[in-house]
């Protein structure tokens, strides 16, 4: 390795440095509301880029994020809460002794959150990738659903629908932003390697990929487990940000929001997923006006709570029909600059 840093590496360093500076600036200057939204954006960036890896890059349509995020959140919460905090909370049933004994610091908690999700993904991949594609969608949808049912019906571990409270608030912009940066970097590294190429090949033409000697089962499983790992970590960060989790947080709405993000950003584009996150998470706050009465000057509409969700689904359909590529298409931000130079 040479000491001389190439031009594109300079650019990467500049991006990383300015992001870190922004994190520092934001956490010391912005008000808490803005910081919270930035935290949400950082966490959803992690979730979106990892969801995009299986859905966009590998082209395997899955609907799992709510399930893995839930697992990550619960694992983290159980590891962060100490025995006393747990035994005081459990109200429906007494917790199992081993549940009380669980304890770890934040880094290990996040790691185990990811690991646990990834292992579950590995188990799921065997039935699902035995057959092609489509079944993944329904199985993962069912999986998210089962996770919620398990969380509700095992109060000895999860405290049932009451959920877990008083989780130590470890998440801050340094954690969420830092891990988001790592996640984007790691995913881009995967995409720009033989594994990323194989994932795209599976998406474009699975038979042809097999004919090139690609072990498509392995590639799909890699993508699925990587997604699950990061979703677990994201769930852990979310739990440590909210300090309180319960099964009703992890419904299909959660997945739907991520789906909008990656479709809008451009399926298959990692930087697109980041842009989509900023637009959707930021935009959802901005779009609050849709739920309120609207005054068009000559005519006032009544308040229509829920209108936001209608608009979201219409956006999703329209993007698919008329702008199938989303904002970034399958390109990355880098490619745009390349074009501009020519």
């Amino acid at each position: 390795m040479s000491i001389i840093i190439r031009k594109d590496q300079w650019i990467n360093l500049a991006i990383i440095a300015s992001t870190l500076w922004f994190i520092w600036f934001a956490s010391s200057h912005f008000d808490e509301y803005t910081v919270r939204i930035l935290n949400n954006i950082a966490i959803f960036t992690i979730l979106a880029v990892s969801y995009n890896l299986i859905n966009g890059v590998t082209g395997q349509f899955s609907l799992e994020p709510n399930g893995f995020v839930a697992i990550g959140a619960y694992v983290t919460a159980l590891l962060l809460l100490d025995g006393d905090a747990k035994s005081y909370q459990f109200d429906i049933e007494d917790p199992y002794p081993w549940v009380l004994a669980l304890h770890a610091n934040f880094i290990w908690a996040l790691f185990f959150a990811g690991l646990f999700s990834a292992l579950l993904a590995l188990t799921l991949s065997f039935p699902v990738f035995r057959v092609r594609g489509d079944y993944l969608a329904i199985v993962t949808l069912g999986f998210g659903f089962i996770i919620r049912i398990l969380a509700i019906n095992n109060p000895e571990i999860t405290n049932g629908s009451l959920g877990l409270n008083d989780i130590p608030e470890f998440s801050n912009l340094y954690w969420t932003g830092g891990i988001a940066l790592l996640a984007v970097w790691g995913i881009l590294n995967i995409v720009n390697s033989k594994f990323g190429r194989a994932m795209k090949a599976v998406r474009d033409d699975e038979d042809a990929a097999i004919a090139m000697g690609v072990n498509t089962f392995k590639i799909k499983t890699f993508a699925f487990c990587t997604s699950a790992f990061l979703e677990g970590v994201g769930g852990g960060l979310l739990a440590a940000l909210l300090t309180s989790i319960s099964p009703d947080l992890f419904t299909f709405f959660f997945t739907f929001q991520l789906l909008i993000i990656i479709v809008l950003g451009g399926l298959g584009s990692t930087t697109g997923a980041v842009i989509g996150t900023v637009l959707v998470i930021g935009g959802a706050e901005w779009m609050r006006f849709l739920d309120e009465p609207m005054n068009f000057g000559f005519f006032e509409t009544p308040a229509l709570p829920g209108m936001r969700m209608v608009v979201f689904s219409v956006i999703l359909i329209f993007v698919m029909l008329f702008a199938r590529e989303g904002i970034m298409g399958k390109r990355e931000l880098k490619d745009l600059f390349k074009k501009a130079k020519k």
């Binding site: 033989k194 990323g196 194989a198 795209k200 038979d207 004919a211 090139m212 072990n215």
Partner: protein, 256 residues
């Protein structure tokens, strides 16, 4: 002898697509598989490449049976293929298409790629160099950064063959390589296949309709009709064979 099919039969439900077929392909040979539409040629390819499992019979490649192996494992043993209708990876550049062929040859792990270990850079450099050499051989290096599907039809064929060669095969299976090409393109392709055989030490098994192309290129042909072998031998002799002519005439009458 490099590939041997012994008494291979393939049934789909009640339909017998291939019936008790036996043939051998020798090393460095260009072997043609011909026959009218629906004769079972592509099915034969799919059996060799492991996409279908033979109902009966054995496939022996370099003295080892291929039965039961997964398609990607068969590729790794040295059998590469192209498709009847070109199937390039449409979102990827010409270079990336060819690099897919190096997938199992680049020796670095998933974690090494995530964390960008030195081995990642070394291996990527190596396979990119090799890919460039193949592209140069096929005279399409100048398009390497273009989207594969933006190329002309003839060039896309070349990319597909280049991509197959990237897997470093011993044997290459070409499914109607000349389909949809004009005579001069066909001529060029025939020469290219011949020289590739010599330069890459290949054995080639190909499916083709164009008898002129087959005549010019193949050392030996096998004629199939409704899953049955009706002729095996030199292409020049095949044209004179009564049964072959009957099968083809019948084919012409019914389809063209």
């Amino acid at each position: 002898m490099i590939l041997e099919l012994k008494n291979v039969t393939k049934k789909f439900g009640g339909v017998t697509a291939i019936k008790d077929t036996t043939f051998r392909v020798n090393s460095k040979e260009i072997y043609g598989l011909i026959g009218p539409n629906g004769a079972g040629k592509t099915t034969m390819f799919n059996i060799i490449t492991g996409n279908y499992e033979a109902t009966e019979g054995d496939i022996i490649f370099r003295k080892e049976p291929l039965n039961g192996l997964k398609p990607h494992a068969i590729v790794r043993r040295g059998i590469a293929r192209t498709f009847q209708n070109i199937r390039l990876f449409k979102s990827m550049s010409v270079m990336d298409n060819v690099l897919i062929g190096f997938d199992f040859q680049a020796k670095y792990t998933y974690f090494e790629s995530i964390l960008r270990f030195p081995r990642f850079f070394g291996e990527e450099k190596r396979i990119k160099k090799r890919a460039m050499e193949i592209l140069e051989y096929f005279k399409i290096a100048e398009f390497s950064e273009q989207k594969a599907t933006d190329l002309s039809y003839g060039q896309q064929r070349k990319v597909e063959i280049a991509r197959a060669l990237a897997t470093n095969p011993v044997m290459l299976l070409l499914d109607e390589p000349a389909a949809g090409m004009n005579p001069s393109e066909t001529e060029e392709l025939a020469n290219l296949i011949k020289s590739a055989r010599d330069d890459f030490d290949l054995t080639i098994l190909l499916i083709e309709h164009d008898m002129k192309f087959v005549n010019q290129l193949c050392d030996k042909v096998l004629v199939l009709d409704y899953g049955k072998t009706i002729f095996e031998g030199k292409p020049a002799d095949a044209i004179r064979d009564k049964e072959v002519v009957a099968a083809y005439l019948g084919d012409f009458v019914s389809h063209d």
